[in-house]
């Protein structure tokens, strides 16, 4: 923003002001779409509810008290588990895909990236229904299994269908950050690793994974956090028998007509998300420091 050649203080103050003015839309968007709704939810989570679905205002800790019921802990635990599993699966698959794309000729890389996005131009719900057709009876998977004489009727509803569909839904947000950090890696490092006798496994474990760590961390966060809010997939592909915390929040807000309790659960999920983001950030910083130290030690060693 600031022009490095500006000589006088008076001139520098003008771009500063324009800087603030240009920030306005972004700040307004964040205030209106993030801070205001969050404040409303935070406030509602302490409100008193009436059985008719009203929000009586006031102040109570009852809503948070109710969340100590083991029923909620169980659903939260299951959701965190599913989110962690999804983040892990997405990141591993995303790493493989990103590595493949990053090693294609420069001309084909953008084409492959566009191919990754194309399915996502279709509505999310339509794609989820497509999975029902693909995995259901009469679908290609069942037909294929029957060709091999395996007796199967339908993969829907099942835990596997939920896991697969979650992977499908979040894979692109895993691929992109990993690809971004993968692209920055000097390709000659791979040749160097090969020259020094590193096998496939060592090349990845000691060169590519550490160097794409920021991308891997973003991938984990970008898949873990939104999975906690998913509610359509478990219903359509999992039969709705094991609700995720997103399903529970929807139920609390609609069928149970209990906005304050729903708001309280939303706040708990929000805090868990923030805690996991902070945790990942700390881990990453620690890893970064260790890498830096290792690099320094390495230099000293060779010197």
């Amino acid at each position: 923003m600031t022009t490095p050649t500006a000589p006088s203080g008076r001139r520098r103050s003008i771009p500063n002001l324009t800087g603030y003015v240009m920030l306005l839309p972004a700040v307004a968007v964040i205030v209106l779409l993030v801070i205001v709704p969050l404040t409303v939810i935070a406030r509602d989570s302490f409100a008193i509810s009436d059985p008719l679905g009203g929000n009586l205002g006031g102040f109570t800790f009852d809503n948070y008290g109710k969340l100590f019921d083991p029923v909620y802990a169980k659903t939260l635990g299951y959701s965190l588990g599913m989110a962690a599993l999804n983040a892990a699966v997405c990141t591993v698959v995303g790493y493989i895909v990103a590595y493949y794309i990053a090693n294609r000729p420069a001309k084909t890389q953008p084409v492959l990236l566009v191919l990754v996005i194309i399915p996502f131009l279709t509505d999310f719900l339509v794609r989820t229904f497509a999975w029902i057709t693909l995995l259901g009876s009469g679908g290609p998977f069942i037909t294929l299994l029957k060709l091999f004489g395996v007796e199967a009727t339908s993969f829907v509803p099942s835990q596997a269908a939920v896991t697969l569909s979650l992977l499908y839904a979040f894979l692109p947000v895993a691929i992109f950050p990993i690809y971004a950090s993968m692209r920055a890696i000097d390709p000659s490092l791979r040749e160097a690793a090969a020259d020094l006798g590193a096998g496939w496994w060592q090349t990845h474990a000691r060169v590519f994974v550490p160097l794409s760590a920021p991308g891997l961390a973003s991938s984990v966060m970008l898949t873990f956090v939104p999975t906690l809010g998913v509610f359509v997939i478990p219903v359509l592909l999992g039969g709705g028998k094991d609700p995720l915390v997103g399903n529970l929040i929807v139920t609390l807000f609609t069928e149970f007509r209990n906005e304050p309790l729903g708001a309280a659960l939303s706040m708990v999920v929000l805090v868990l998300m923030l805690a996991s983001v902070a945790g990942a950030g700390l881990l990453l910083r620690a890893a970064g420091r260790r890498n830096a130290r290792a690099a320094r030690n390495g230099k000293e060693g060779t010197a």
């Binding site: 002001l17 603030y20 029923v71 399903n247 609609t254 069928e255």
Partner: protein, 357 residues
């Protein structure tokens, strides 16, 4: 420091202007333009055919706008927020009770109604709205069982079949608390409208026990699953999706369970703070006409509450389809689901336990 302060102030001011702009435009849309007459209706998605609206506009010269909702709770919260701008709403039976309690809908002046006699007996003076003081029923339906006989191998007669281990992994329940409890209560011989804690707990135990048999809870595509034979039995709502499944496959049947079964009905009510009361009464009277009421069956595949309309339905196979018009003799024990009031807490506790188990 000062400059920063100034910038923050500017941000706050800009945000305030945007907010003010929102509320100003909200007000503008809720007041009808003077001169031309308008009627604003808030109704269930798919329950008022275009043909009905078109006919009303042509005859009265009133411009109708229809917004739709897909849950009573959404509709109630929008009206409770105030200044909704709607004149006529279409609550379900228990929602009528809720809205009367919250003073959201007006008392209907019965002397202004024409054609009220056309309503079928069970919708006159109903349990949820004595004397039809606040609601004129428009469409109705049932909660029952949709099953595929090729899959079950035998006719299904009641809720108890949904607890039969022979169908393990082939049974779906509706993903809706009150609907699930209809089955849970009636399978125990209890009333679906009970508010007794012990009754509700007994139903909770039954629903917990049923979970090992279930394929899942599903309110969206159960009719497809039954039609394809991926599921054998599903708790189901009557209406278009169930009716189509019954029509398309001779093995698919819709029944009202022998333990009872329940009715729902969606009614027209006048919003308390309406500015177009005359137009609202014109709408009530227009929709009470038999030839208009018949359109809800012909164009929306729903059952009409209007007895005189039945012979006027063009496609009589719809009147004979049990997934649209449940046979009268199957409804002798059926009840309207009413608002559980304070007992809602017992249902919620139980349902949370059932879903999370």
């Amino acid at each position: 420091m000062n400059k920063k302060f100034l910038a923050l102030g500017a941000v706050a001011l800009a945000s305030a202007t945007v907010l003010a702009g929102c509320s100003a435009s909200g007000d503008a849309s809720s007041t009808s333009a003077s001169g031309s007459k308008t009627l604003s209706i808030y109704a269930w998605a798919g329950e008022i055919p275009d043909s009905v609206i078109q006919g009303f506009e042509d005859e009265t010269g009133i411009t109708v706008t229809v917004d739709t909702f897909d849950s009573n709770e959404t509709m109630i919260s929008k009206l409770a927020a105030g200044n909704s701008g709607y004149d006529v709403v279409e609550p379900s039976q228990y929602a009528v009770q809720l809205m009367v309690d919250r003073d959201l809908i007006a008392t209907i002046d019965q002397s202004k109604l024409e054609g009220f006699d056309n309503l079928a007996e069970k919708f006159v003076d109903p349990s949820f709205d004595p004397g039809n003081e606040h609601s004129i029923p428009w469409a109705w339906g049932t909660t029952g069982i949709l099953y595929n006989e090729a899959c079950t191998g035998a006719p299904v007669t009641g809720w108890s079949d949904m607890w039969n281990p022979a169908y393990t992994g082939k049974v779906y329940m509706l993903d809706n608390m009150l609907s699930a409890y209809i089955a849970g209560l009636q399978v125990n011989g209890l009333s679906a409208t009970t508010t007794d804690q012990a009754d509700i707990e007994k139903a909770t135990d039954s629903l917990l026990e049923q979970k090992s048999i279930l394929a899942g809870y599903n309110s969206s595509n159960y009719a497809d699953l039954i039609g394809a034979g991926d599921a054998c039995i599903a708790e189901a709502y009557s209406g278009t999706t169930s009716a189509t499944a019954v029509e398309a496959n001779p093995d698919v049947h819709y029944i009202i369970p022998e333990e009872g079964g329940t009715l729902w009905t969606d009614s027209f009510s006048i919003v308390k703070d309406t500015k177009n009361e005359d137009a609202a009464y014109q709408w009530l009277n227009y929709t009470l006409r038999p030839e208009v009421a018949a359109l809800v069956t012909d164009d929306a595949s729903l059952a009409s509450t209007n007895e005189a309309a039945l012979p006027l339905v063009a496609d009589q196979s719809q009147v004979e389809n049990p997934a649209i018009y449940a046979p009268a003799d199957s409804l002798t024990n059926s009840e309207f689901i009413v608002d559980p009031g304070d007992a809602l807490a017992f249902f919620q506790d139980g349902w949370t336990r059932v879903r999370a188990s």
